[in-house]
């Protein structure tokens, strides 16, 4: 996180705000609600309190304006610059301006007012932009479905105003660090010749343009997929990737989620209802056999017959000796299976049923 230069802050932590005018894109109630939720985010993690007033001058004045609105920071029409806010201080200090040339929404569509208001309020309270892509104070607009303060945001606001009076100190999600040697994964899959690694709300992939692996929100590609995916595998000859969470799964083709999903794993694959979720999955491109890993067992599904093979489930050790009794994630590359459990990664030859190498989980990220 970064504090605004000069570390400006409000001496009085009980602040007032006023919504001077309303965008026609949403009902007044929806605007009031979005702004109120944004204030609640920051008051829940700090000693700050906010009171809405309807008349006279408030500490934080909120308005919807377009183009040059005489604050020497003109807006630029649709897209680009969405809003701005001023650091704590008298008069224009703390004020927030939203660009009326944008379409303001209270859902996924661009641009979600609650999400932008939460960011701009960070500036009104003394925060500058963060380089943490998982932080609300990151400069670019990314809407990942839910609006929450990351640990980076919480640490920033508490560096200015101290902790909240909440007996249990609130904590926020941490953004994975691709070169953290303790990094573990929720799921990994191939996708059109690339590898994608999943953790919490994020995907990671190697990319020639980024010195380290690229990391961003899963919602950038698949806005309607849930966070915290548990397994994923690609059926390459159908150009399809399947994502699993709990007893449901989604199928995507590129960035499109296929119609009719999510579906239940019981109906589609024939799992018994005792199976509550899948830990990992991989489809062997050479045989059309998909392996599902559930706790210490594995199931084998025939993609051509579209049914489970007889004789399964088996203990994982029977088909894949040496990789342990739990799998976090697995993918196939160049005919080999790569199994991940915790910080460990096993390269496995399915023909000889032998482990060829043992590596760190994040060995693919050129750290």
């Amino acid at each position: 996180f970064v504090l605004t230069q000069g570390s400006p802050r409000w001496e009085d932590t009980h602040l007032t705000y006023r919504i001077e005018n309303y965008t026609p894109d949403l009902s007044r109630a929806a605007v009031d609600h979005a702004i109120e939720k944004a204030f609640q985010l920051w008051s829940s993690v700090s000693p700050l309190t906010f009171t809405k007033v309807s008349e006279s001058q408030a500490d934080i004045m909120i308005s919807f304006v377009r183009g040059d609105h005489r604050d020497n920071s003109p807006f630029d029409g649709p897209g680009g610059n969405l809003a701005h806010a001023f650091q704590p201080g008298p008069h224009i200090g703390g004020d927030i301006h939203f660009d009326e040339d944008e379409r303001w929404t209270n859902n996924f569509r661009d641009y979600n007012l609650y999400r932008v208001a939460a960011h701009e309020l960070g500036h009104s309270l003394g925060l500058a932009h963060s380089t943490d892509i998982g932080a609300l104070m990151y400069p670019n607009y990314i809407f990942s479905g839910d609006v929450q303060l990351s640990q980076d945001d919480i640490s920033g606001i508490q560096a200015i105003y101290g902790p909240s009076q909440n007996p249990t100190q609130p904590i926020g999600p941490q953004t994975p660090q691709v070169c953290d040697s303790k990094l573990t994964f929720d799921a990994i899959t191939t996708i059109r010749g690339e590898l994608m690694f999943f953790k919490d709300r994020f995907y990671m992939r190697t990319n020639p343009f980024y010195p380290e692996a690229e990391l961003n929100f899963i919602s950038v590609f698949w806005p309607h997929l849930p966070n915290g995916l548990q397994a994923a595998y690609e059926v390459a000859d159908r150009d399809e990737v399947r994502f699993f969470k709990g007893n449901k799964y989604w199928a995507v083709k590129g960035q499109d989620v296929l119609y009719g999903y999510p579906k239940y794993i019981y109906r589609s694959f024939g799992f018994p209802r005792t199976v509550k979720n899948i830990d990992a999955a991989v489809s062997d491109e050479d045989t059309g056999k998909t392996y599902f890993f559930v706790a210490n067992k594995c199931w084998r599904y025939d993609e051509y017959k579209q049914s489970m093979d007889a004789g399964y489930p088996k203990m994982i050790a029977e088909d894949f000796p040496g990789i342990g009794s739990k799998v976090d994630a697995v993918f196939q590359k160049d005919g080999f299976f790569y199994f991940f459990h915790g910080k460990r990664q096993y390269k496995f030859d399915t023909k000889t049923k032998r482990i060829l190498t043992l590596q760190k989980a994040n060995s693919w990220f050129n750290c």
Binding site: D99, H129, N140, Y141, Y210, E212
Partner: protein
């Protein structure tokens, strides 16, 4: 965030995109004279490197496709570098 794009030639409007972005968010003075740039280290390159470092991109000082891609994304109007 499309799948890796081929590095395209920087079009004329891309030069303008870069100039405007760096003026708005990285304090590039828009009065930097062309002649001054030839003599000293080009302020655009320095600012571009600052922006690439901020966004975790490869720090090349050149407006490659990925850098332009980030510059074209909707964002907050507050500068990334203190004025």
């Amino acid at each position: 965030h499309s799948f890796p794009a081929a590095t395209s030639e920087t079009q004329e409007q891309d030069v303008e995109t870069v100039q405007k972005y760096l003026e708005n968010y990285y304090n590039l003075k828009n009065d930097a004279k062309q002649v001054e740039r030839q003599r000293n280290n080009d302020p655009v390159v320095e600012k571009l490197k600052q922006m690439q470092k901020f966004f975790g991109l490869k720090v090349t000082g050149k407006p490659d496709a990925e850098t332009l891609n980030v510059m074209k994304q909707p964002r907050c109007g507050v500068p990334d570098m203190a004025q």
